[in-house]
Amino acid sequence: MSEQTLVRDLGYILVAAAAFVLVSRAARMPTIVAYILAGLVLGPVTGLLEVTASVELISRFGIALLLFIVGLELSLDRIRDVGKVALVAGLGQVAFTAAGGLVLCLLLGFDLAASAFIGVALTFSSTVVVVKLLDQKRELHTLYGRIAVGIFLVQDLVVVVALTLLAGLGSPGTTGPLALLREMVRAFAGMGLLLGGALVASRYVLPRVFGWAAGEAQTLFIWSLCWCFLLVLGAEVLGLSLEIGAFLAGVSLAQLPFNQDLRRRVHPLMNFFMAVFFASLGVQVEAGAAVAQWPAAVVLSLFVLVGKPPILMGIISRRGYGERTSFLASIAVAQISEFSFVFAALGLRSGLVDESVLSLIAAVGLVTMAASAYMILYNHELYARARQWALLRPLRARQEEDEVPPARPRGHVIVVGMNALGRRLVERLVEHGERVLAIDTDPRKLARLPCATLLGNVEYPSVLEDANVAEAKLLISALQIEDTNNVLAYRCRALGVPASIHAFDRSVEEVLSEIGVSHLLISKNAALRRIFAELAREGILAP
């Protein structure tokens, strides 16, 4: 039965990837690499897995969610300031890399057509790989992260144009400068239309619609996904990539108060689906053909890994960015993209190149994606090493930091749950002169508080990270949700942070004491004492 196939395929992918992650824990293998390796094992090595329509659909779904998350993280304002550098660097990188690749391929003995083709294929960097890793490192919003994302968006437009052009090559009469111009205009007009639509919606429609459902996490979640796929469909209709549609959907929701919360919710789903995507990349490799091409594959992979970044670094540092930013942003592009595969497949179909080029590009793709995953994951260490060895001196980039990371709260008191008790605790603590951070899942409950606020569900570790619990003076939960309180108590204990947890009922006290909290806020006892005090005032009880 076909349905069993999907479950079985997913099972294979996840089990194999989990095995890789667990076995290679010492090597701190990035999950992306584990997925690709799982795909290699399941596809070329054992032949257990084939890329079915369902797997394909899930992969595309994953990519859409990934770009949706990027959009949620980066509102338009945050990438506007890097627009210029992204445009220059994106186009410049394409030109220089294509030229370099062409020369290299000619030296390797390919004919001119194939060399030109491979050169272009090498210029595309993988948005998906980079964005996934930056997101994992939580560095999407940094200056270098924004520049990288900007470059990818520019490249995506180039890809769209290149792919449509190449598709047109098969049918004669549609090539030539006029067709190129037409495609460019079409792509940019489509982009403008979609962007305009998304902006109008984000200004006038979405806040009202989503505000109505605030506090209903599941409704918001499904609605956002629905909005994402509406724009993805819109992008497809306009001949744009799915990435751009999903990204714009994210951007249009980015200014709503719950964007971070939404991002956290979409995250696990995206991770799950992206596993399928990366594994399917590995599955599709023609191992035999790739092995036969190994000298060329090694040379080209080295070019992508080592040659591409300096080109970009030169361009970015010329625009006045500092050394660190230029380095980190440039390191990010040291791989080729899954589009390179699509591009090569199209080239094969239109007779420009033969089978061997396709498998060569696939091999270069896998090697560079895996290697650059490590490079991006350890980019700060790489930078330190490069400085140490004076590798960056020839660029003569500015040494100052471009941005100082914002100071995170420290020594603060965190209050979770803005019910009557939570609000009162916040007021009292602020009066007492404490720095207070209030957390709740409902934006309405966070309104009009005399302190800093954070919207999110504390069961997500990233919320606690954002609140910098590890350096807090105390965490208080006023929540009346037993499971969440227990998890909070547990996490605080693990971090060694004092916790005061609301024990709203006798029956929750035992477990909390077992976990070990600094203080149990037993509200019923407090109420009782107040009743006794009042009875004493009435002369019923002795004061």
Binding site: E3, Q4, V7, G11, V15, A17, A18, V21, R25, T31, L57, E216, A217, Q218, T219, F221, I222, W223, C226, F229, L230, V232, R265, H267, N271, F272, R410, G411, N419, A420, L421, R424, L425, R428, Y460, E471, A472, K473, Q480, I481, E482, N486, V487, Y490, P498, S507, I515, S523, K524, A526, A527, R529, R530, I531, F532, E534, L535, E538, I540, A542
Partner: protein, 534 residues
């Protein structure tokens, strides 16, 4: 992509309507799925994939919630009530199905489908009403968890029935073996993987999902349904703190898949014939009418108060999302016809939609009047007392006040609407009246006008308004939970005791003491350390 966008759009509309009308989302999702199927935009392959994956995650997360600690002290009671309700309702369902002319196998499926109540619907209601931790909330939770477990464990049994006892026994034995494996994982493996290895969030998710598919695959290898394995995978993660650490991530996966599942499932439904409609209504009627008295009697036997037992009964009066799973399994095993599945789905939709309308305070109050003990207790009380302390409501706080007053030798009179509490008080020879503290007649008989002081710990602030109006010069203390209620009580001449304020004040006392004792980390501790070491 169009297919998936359509499914999502259907789910989005269903969620919107659910929020608008205050109904549970599950039945609306299924209706949306039916509508989408009529339009024909979703390819059948996608529907199948969505149902299979959705089902996997639905049972997985259900297993994850199966931490018996959440049931707390109510475990024995939950066991008794859960099993008894399951068996009794199942039997009634079986008889009714046979009476309606279904064949024996279909009747068994129908019986199993009717026996359990819905975790998704009930837990959500309890959460919204913040009643999960109340004794009856815990009992209901225990009942639900137990029934989920029973249904999942019985699902593998039904398809084997035609093949004789030996095959069934073998199936049960393998299921038990897999449960054993799950237990091993629960105790040793999962804490190791999730906590000790120190993996990042994504890797933990990866490993946990790998376990889901490993268990499912093993189940299939042992000729058990995949979902049974998925459920046990969830169970193996259900111990604290592992469940707490993975819950958030898995919940967002399940939120998505469950929404897609019910919508896609709706796509499989055929329009019912008139006969099927009548059959479904008969079953729905049985569930809604029989469950509350059944659970009330069982709950009271298990030591719950009448009010709690009634509320529990009302909450449990619907069939489960697992009823759909049961039906689906029967359909896949071709043991039941699509019509029978439609009947099961209809019963589920109808009873789930009725739950929020039936399980209300108002309804519980009304049903209390039919409680057999009420009449006995109301009759035979003498003159209203005078000069006493009148307690309205005798829950945890009320009882504590009562004890203190008794120790000091005060004359006390208690009004509570729970027969169990009243019996207990009368045994201790404390004058008490069973009734609604918001009822003027009851207040008159409790001597509210002539009391020395009145303490109200009634649940809703509005319930204390009658006593404030009636009491005249008598001081009235009212326990309230929020500012609005406190203001209302003060305006009407009462003295509010605001729990939040009292608790905040106590907290601040502790805070000052802890700060002085150096138990809290002083602000900028690290800076100070750096300074010291330099």
């Amino acid at each position: 992509m169009i297919g998936i966008a359509t499914l999502l759009a259907g789910a989005a509309v269903a969620f919107g309507v659910a929020r608008w009308l205050g109904l549970p989302a599950v039945p609306l999702l299924m209706l949306a799925g039916m509508a989408l199927n009529l339009v024909g935009l979703v390819p059948p392959q996608l529907l199948e994939d969505a149902v299979v994956l959705g089902l996997t995650f639905l049972v997985f997360v259900a297993g994850l919630e199966l931490d018996p600690r959440r049931v707390g002290a109510q475990r024995p009671a939950a066991l008794r009530v859960g099993v008894a309700q399951f068996v009794l309702l199942g039997t009634v369902g079986l008889l009714a199905a046979l009476g309606l002319g279904f064949d024996a196998t279909t009747a068994l499926y129908l019986a199993l489908a009717l026996a359990a109540s819905s975790t998704l619907v009930v837990v959500r209601l309890l959460q919204v009403r913040q009643q999960l931790f109340e004794p009856f909330g815990r009992l209901v939770l225990g009942v639900l968890l137990l029934q989920d477990l029973l249904v999942i464990l019985l699902i593998p049994v039904l398809p084997r029935l035609p093949r004789g006892v030996g095959v069934v026994a073998l199936g049960v034995a393998t299921a038990v073996a897999l449960v054993g494996l799950a237990y091993v994982c629960l105790r040793w493996l999962m804490p190791l993987v999730v906590i000790r290895l120190g993996l990042d969030e994504e890797s933990v998710l990866l490993v946990v999902l790998a376990f889901l598919f490993l268990f499912g695959g093993s189940a299939e290898g042992l000729r058990l349904p995949f979902v049974a394995g998925a459920f046990l995978a969830g169970v193996s993660l259900s111990a604290f703190p592992v469940n707490g650490l993975v819950r958030a991530q898995l919940n967002s996966l399940s939120d998505f898949f469950v929404a897609i599942f019910f919508t896609a499932l709706g796509g499989f439904l055929v329009f019912p014939t008139a006969v099927e409609l009548v059959q479904a209504l008969v079953f729905a009627f049985l569930v809604v009418v029989l469950t509350p008295p059944l659970v009330t009697v069982l709950g009271e036997r298990a030591g719950m108060s009448a009010r709690s037992a009634i509320e529990g009964g009302l909450l449990l009066a619907q069939t489960s999302e697992f009823s759909l799973v049961v039906g689906l399994q029967g359909l896949v095993a071709t043991q039941i016809v699509p019509g029978a599945f439609t009947v099961i789905a209809l019963v589920t939709v109808v009873t789930m939609l009725l739950t929020p309308l039936v399980a209300t305070d108002e309804m519980a109050r009304r049903l209390m009047r039919f409680h057999p003990q009420r009449r006995r207790q109301m009759a035979g009380d003498g003159e209203p007392p005078r000069g006493h302390v009148l307690l309205l409501g005798c829950g945890e706080n009320g009882m504590a006040v009562l004890e203190e007053l008794i120790v000091l030798g005060h004359r006390v009179f208690v009004v509570d609407d729970d027969p169990g509490v009243i019996v207990q008080l009368r045994q201790a020879e404390i004058p008490a009246l069973r009734g609604d503290g918001a009822d003027r007649a009851v207040l008159e008989r409790a001597g509210a006008r002539h009391a020395r002081v009145i303490v109200s710990t009634l649940g809703r602030p509005a319930d204390s308004v009658p006593v404030l109006e009636l009491a005249g010069g008598v001081p009235v203390l009212v326990r309230v939970f929020d500012d609005a209620a406190a203001q209302m009580i003060r305006r009407r001449g009462g003295t509010p005791v605001l729990v939040a304020e009292a608790a905040a004040e106590e907290f601040l006392e502790w805070y000052r003491a802890a700060e002085a004792a150096g138990a809290l980390r002083p602000a900028g501790a690290e800076a100070a350390e750096v300074g010291a070491s330099a």
